[in-house]
Every structure is written in structure tokens, then in C-alpha cells.
Symmetry: C2
Subunit: 465 residues, 2 copies
């Protein structure tokens, strides 16, 4: 059990609404302004001023059209749709901030590693090292269809490809340019010393990349790597590559089990189990009193249409929930929906057999993550429990209304959380900006034991080692 | 001959140096700051304050490794290398401006049309309709190798694919969402009316995209389409799709011939030949007197290493210029380099047989575009000649030093150009921002006769037509 403050990330998506169904119907919600850059710069400033460590963007290049076999319910509820490209939003938010970090979800499935490496190096440069990449390998059927992948590869193949993909981007980020390759010597007309830029000569089963990286080394070289896979192969992948892992759980106990498994996977990969930060998805509904908070929560639940909730859930699981009775426990009827519950919920509650309606009630606010509801004191004691019992290092804060939920959190919960040492104190006015990895691990480049580090060490010149 | 003011774009690349070899060696040059977002926001503000219509980013996902069979000379001279991803830079510049437009080069070769359509819709939203796409179909061998395309397709095949690619993105941008599909009606829990969102059902020779677009309609729907192909198939493609075409020429007479051909290609495609804006690449070296300007130009030429120049040229043409004597006219020795001269230079000067050294001298400043050197009066009279004789609509302004060349242009040349009506007067303080297409054509959506327009007209509901 550690006594350190939790890292604090806002969790969002470049869309009108994210995990709370019907959030756009809530009073004062500004999700509809998602196409407006000034809206995002305002949010970035707000989060930075409040001392958030960063904002994290989920993403998907598909839409939820499993429920009832079409996208109608998802469109009606703006269920993570429309969904714009978060990579092009970051520099706008970075332009008005100095400390806030940015996590971005990008699939390693649709873009050659050579281009993804350039994109993240560019972002790492522009943000001064404030960027992280959430590595996603899975994708929706809708995405696959529209991206010309007629047959989805199996999850296991995907992870094998992703392992090689990571190998390629590590080589580009870490070993192509030596530390002192960029000399900018006007006298000798040498901007870059070609002797210190290396072709990576990658030739593998899935990718062939002979050349050198298109970008000079960025502040972090490799962006901070986030991952969220919960299958056993996903955990193995995360154990090897992830520097931070997102989890979600219906209970503290379930989270505790997941965290233990994750740290074991990290250890199995030969790394220190504390070299991965565990960040848990939570939605906080806070008000001056528990009763007011509960009422606020209930309003959000009331605004969440069950079709919108089940459209999301059907999209996530690939199972059309319209085929099941709302009040019949799923596992007991032996359906694949029941199996899906085992995957998504039962790790946390192995003994519980959920009905679709119960699932919908749980998911209405904050999706598959837990929701903490109450006064500032209640929030503090709950968050303390998540930190101390589940052994998590940070939270990914979702919302019921935006930016209202974050405003409430900042005004009401944050002072109490800081007073109790659960969240770090306010940033000193004259604090110099640091990279995201420095925030999390106290250093700019990947830690020893991480596979990227080996690439850096192998290829750098004697002098730079 | 029209008497209208020229559109004014700055021409750049997300790299330390662009078309002027050794520009980074020039006194006061700040190209090395290209990784710094604050540098770019400063440039954006400067250009907006001066009344530029936009800034245009070239791009390439390869590097120049043809010269001497390696990248050494290109790396030494930072010859369009390192080269970051311009799509992730735009929102940073958009965040601090209201009027400046952004042209971005993206290849239609490496990214599925479904993702490119999302990226540009996202940018069009974030910039409030201030974005243009420079459609590129060609690519360097270095790019193809590193992107896993072992065999380059032929240019003709590329254009056929690109034609279908355009078809897909038009459908996504123009016909997937009806004008009034987004209703945001909290009462009926309907953010989007599913009846007004259509699957595009595209199934062609190269692409299969059954679904609907991921983004709601952006201010321009289709971004303003730029193109620069100069082969006959390239011109045919541009004649059909381009709303603006970039050209470059060693002489006014050459430009005039090219413009005539382009307008003919537009006419051949069934469009009004004036529905395409012709934007010419020019570098302006201005000083209070002609002599001072000439001295300034000479300094830039002196700082341009011939290896760096020929590395660029070899990369553009695919011909290793190190294999030729510097002072032997190329065409006369019957080489493929000579043929390449025909392609790149001889349209402008059909009777001239260039030596590599002469080519290098021409290319040293501003690459394959012409350079205008002199006092403000000289610049004005030259620019007037380009406009009136070559029939161009705008200029793409390159530089010898950055931002020094643009500072000079703004301080010295612009007042004279405005006084003479060659460039539009300063923007009125209270002018409302408009989209890029409104700037160029006075309307937000594609003009009648453009292929995108047909898609919009076909699929929109009766009410919206």
C-alpha cells in the first residue's frame, strides 16, 4: 500500500458524448460544442489551471451498429458518434497550455508503423514531450468493413502483429537518430551528421522498414505508452510494452484482482511491477451533501435512454442485446451474452448474474467504470479506498455532463482530496513544464527494463551511452 | 486578363528548411525552431495580421536518398528533412487565428479514404472551414519502401485509384449526412436523426466502403481541393477535381502556357475554366533598393551548398545528378536527366539546354519556382506581370530565410502591392471570419460543375435540395 497522491487525468473523446448515455441532454452540457476548437482550448486551460496531469482521448474508427442490426440507437443518442480524429486536436490544446499532458488512442491496425511513428514524434515535439499513446489493436466490425479489411484477423494474430509493430516504432524512435545527430553547424554546412543517423533495417514477418526515421528525436523519443487490454494475451502485451494501463471495474475488489494480475504480467515480462502505472476509469458525482449528489446522479440516469446504453454495450461486445429479455439473468440462460458478462463484469463480481436491465443501469453513467457519488468527504474516503485497497496509481475521470462534472470535481472534491493528500498539491506558479514521463516516472526516456530502452542502448554511439 | 488582386499564401513545410537550400545557414533564420509550437503560432499570427489568405504545407513521407545513392547530402543540408506530420500542426495555428487558412498536403496513397475523410472533416470543423487538401498521388521510392509498398504502381494506375478515392471521400463528405441530420432534440432524445444519415455503399475496383461517414457535416463539407500534377494524366485529374492548382515555372511565358493547358483541362472536364484558381510558387527577395535586394539574394545563393541542391533535385526526379558533369548541357548528351529537364524546366524554356550547374543555380533559392528580386516597385511590377500575362490568381510565397523573407515582404512589398491593387486591401477590423472556399469563390460548398456537388445534390433530401 502506497501513500502517494493519485495521478489525475480527464477522460474524454472527440465526440458530443462519451460514456454517459444521454449526457448531452443534461442541463448545461456543452458536449455539442465538440467541433469548436475554442471549446477545447477552454477545457484544456481549465484542466491545466486545476492541476490535472492530463486529458486522455479514447477513439474508435467505427460506430455501434450491432444493436438491432443498425446504427439508429447509437445515432439518436450520439453514442460515441460522430467521432472526429483526436490526433489533429492535440496541438490546439497544447498551444494554450504548458503543463497538461495528452493521451491519444490510435489503432496500430490501420496505419503503417512508419507513419504512426512520425505522427507521435511530431506530437511529442509540438507538446514539448507531453504526449502519450494508447495502443489499441482491436477494432469494431464496422471499422474493419469501412477500412477495407474484409476479414478481421483473430485477436491473437493481432497481438503478434502489434508486437512486431512496436518493434518497428521503437527502432524508429530510439535507435535511428543518435542523441547528438542534429548539430546545426552553419560553418561546415551540416545540419544533421549523417554518420549518426541509422537505417533501422527492419525486416520481419509483417513489416519491412529499411530506412531511417523521418523525425529528429523528440523530448521523450518514445511517447508514454498506455494500454488497456484485459484478455490474457492483452495483459501479456501490456506487461511487456505498457507504461500505464487503463482499467475499469464494477468494484474495488475486482480492480484489486485485475491490478494484481497486471503487475504479475509486468513482472513476467522481466520488469519491475511498479514500473507500470495503473489508471482506473471513474466517474465522480459530487455535491455539497450526499443527498444532493445522489439526486444529481439520478437525473443523469433518468436522461440516459436504455437504447443508447445497450447500443454502446452491443457495440463493445459484438452481441445484439435487443435479442435478450431485459429482466432475465444472462448467465443463467447460457447465452454468449452471458459469456460476455463474464468477460466484462464478472471479474469484479464472480457470483453475480446480471440481467440486461441491471447492466444498463450500471452502464448508464460512466460506462463500464464505477461511479462514486457523494459529498466531498464521501468522495475522498471512496477514492482513498480505491487507491489503498485496489493499488491503483491514478484515475481517468469521466463525466455525466461536460464540463459541469469536471467543474464540480474541481470546485468541490479537489480541495478535500488535496487536503487529505489523495491528489497532489497545486502546482507551484513558477514550476517548469516537464514531460509526461517525468510526471509519471521522474525521467524523460523509457525506464530500464522496458523494451524501448534496449533499442536505445543498442544503437546509440559509444559516446552517447 | 483580370484586374483582381492576387490571393496570397505562404508556402512552407513542417521541417527546418524547404525550397531554399541552406536557408537555415542564413543570418536570423529560425527554421530550426520548427519543432516548437510557439514558433508556429507566432508565424500564424504574423501572417494573419498581415492579411495573408493562408499558409500552405508541402509534405513528403520520404527523404532524398537518390543523390550518390544515399541520404547524406540531404541530411547535411536539412533538405526537406527531418519532416514532421503537418496534419497535427494545424489546430495549434488555428487556435490563435480566425482568418488564416491552412492548406495541407496528404497523400491519397497510404491512408484508407475512410480515415482521410475523417481527418479532413475534423480539421474543417476545428478551423471553422479554413482548410484545404492538396491531393498528392505520387510518392518517393524511399517512402514506398518504408511504407511496405514494395512495388510502386505506375503513375497511371495511381491516378485511376485516386479517381476512385475521390469518389469515396465525396460520398462521405457530401452525401452521407443530410443538411439537417443533426437535430439535438433533448426532448425526443434524438441527437442525430438516423433517417437522414445514409450509408454510402461504395463498392469499386480499389475500395469498398459500405458505411456512413464518422463526422457530421463540417463548414465546407469537402475541404478546398488543391492539386499540382503537371503530367497530362495529372492535369486531367486536376481538371476534374482541383479547385486550385499549384504551378511553378522558370518564366512568365512558361507559366502562361501551363495556365492555358490547365484551364483547358478544366474545360474538358465540363467545368468553367475560371472555377480553378491558379496559384504560382514564387520567392520574393525585396529590399529598399534593387541593389540591396540583389545582394541579399546573392548571400542566400552563396549559402546554398550545391550538394544540398542536387540532393533535392535528384530526389524530386529520381535521377542521381552526381553521375553528370556539372558543366555539360544535359539534353545534348541524351540522358534521362536531360529528359527530366524537359519535364521540369523545358515547358517554360523549350529552347534551353541546362547544365547541372545552371539548374543548381536556378534551384538554389525557392526550388523550381521563380524568384523575384528587387525594390518594392520592382516586385510590384514583376508580380503585376505574372498576374496579367500568365493569368494566375494567387501566389504561394516561399522564402530564403524564415520568417525574415516574410517580414520583408510584409514590411516592404505589401504596402506597394496594396497601393497598386495587386494584393487586396487590409482586412477590416470587424470582418467576420469566412471559410477558405468563400475567400476563393464566395460560397461555402463546392461550385456547380464540380464532381463533389453532384454527390451532394443526389443524396440530399428533397427538403434540403
Amino acid at each position: 500500500m502506497k501513500n502517494e497522491p493519485l495521478s489525475l487525468f480527464a477522460f474524454d473523446v472527440f465526440a458530443p458524448a462519451h460514456l454517459t448515455s444521454g449526457s448531452w441532454r443534461n442541463e448545461g452540457d456543452q458536449g455539442y460544442r465538440y467541433t469548436d476548437l475554442q471549446y477545447w482550448t477552454g477545457i484544456a486551460r481549465k484542466l491545466e489551471d486545476a492541476g490535472f496531469d492530463g486529458i486522455f482521448f479514447a477513439d474508435n474508427v467505427g460506430y455501434h451498429d450491432v444493436y438491432r442490426g443498425n446504427g439508429d440507437a447509437a445515432l439518436r443518442d450520439a453514442a460515441q458518434f460522430p467521432i472526429n480524429d483526436p490526433t489533429v486536436l492535440i496541438s490546439g490544446m497544447a498551444a494554450v497550455t504548458k503543463h497538461l499532458s495528452f493521451g491519444v488512442t490510435v489503432s496500430a491496425t490501420y496505419e503503417p508503423p512508419y507513419l504512426l511513428a512520425r505522427k507521435f514524434s511530431s506530437l511529442d515535439h509540438l507538446t514539448g514531450g507531453r504526449v502519450g499513446w494508447n495502443i489499441v489493436t482491436s477494432y469494431s466490425e464496422a471499422a474493419a468493413r469501412n477500412l477495407g479489411k474484409e476479414q478481421q484477423v483473430t485477436p491473437l494474430e493481432r497481438y503478434d502483429m502489434a508486437d512486431e509493430y512496436m518493434d518497428v516504432v521503437y527502432k524508429l524512435w530510439e535507435s535511428s537518430f543518435e542523441e547528438d545527430a542534429v548539430v546545426r553547424d552553419a560553418e561546415s554546412a551540416t545540419y544533421i551528421d549523417p554518420a549518426k543517423v541509422h537505417q533501422i533495417n527492419h525486416s520481419g514477418q509483417h513489416f519491412t522498414v529499411p530506412g531511417f526515421h523521418l523525425c529528429e528525436p523528440s523530448p521523450q523519443r518514445t511517447p508514454v505508452l498506455f494500454q488497456a487490454g484485459s484478455s490474457s494475451r492483452g495483459m501479456e502485451f501490456g506487461g511487456k510494452h505498457a507504461e500505464a494501463v487503463f482499467i475499469q471495474s464494477t468494484s474495488v475488489e475486482g480492480a484489486k484482482r485485475t491490478v494484481a494480475k497486471l503487475r504479475q504480467a509486468v513482472s513476467d515480462a522481466g520488469r519491475d511491477p511498479q514500473d507500470v502505472k495503473i489508471v482506473i476509469l471513474l466517474t465522480v458525482v459530487v455535491a455539497p451533501t450526499n443527498e444532493e449528489a445522489q439526486a444529481k446522479y439520478q437525473k443523469a440516469v433518468d436522461n440516459a435512454p436504455i437504447d443508447g446504453i445497450l447500443a454502446r454495450f452491443s457495440g463493445w461486445t459484438g452481441i445484439d442485446m435487443s435479442e435478450y429479455e431485459l429482466d432475465v439473468p444472462l448467465r443463467s440462460v447460457g447465452t454468449k451474452a452471458g459469456q460476455s458478462m463474464v468477460d466484462m463484469f464478472s471479474k469484479a463480481d464472480p457470483d453475480r448474474d446480471w440481467t440486461p436491465r441491471q447492466i444498463a443501469e450500471f452502464l448508464a453513467v460512466g460506462g463500464t467504470g464505477s461511479t462514486i457519488i457523494g459529498s466531498p468527504e464521501t468522495i475522498a474516503s471512496e477514492l482513498r479506498r480505491w487507491r489503498d485497497e485496489a493499488d491503483v496509481d491514478g484515475i481517468n475521470l469521466s463525466y455525466t455532463t461536460k464540463p459541469g462534472s469536471w467543474d464540480d470535481f474541481i470546485e468541490l472534491a479537489l480541495p478535500e482530496l488535496r487536503a487529505q493528500g489523495i491528489i497532489a498539491p497545486e502546482r507551484n506558479e513558477d514550476q517548469e513544464p516537464v514531460t509526461l514521463r517525468e510526471k509519471l516516472f521522474g525521467q524523460k526516456y523509457t525506464l530500464n527494463g522496458h523494451p524501448a530502452t534496449a533499442h536505445r542502448a543498442t544503437h546509440l554511439s559509444e559516446a552517447a551511452r
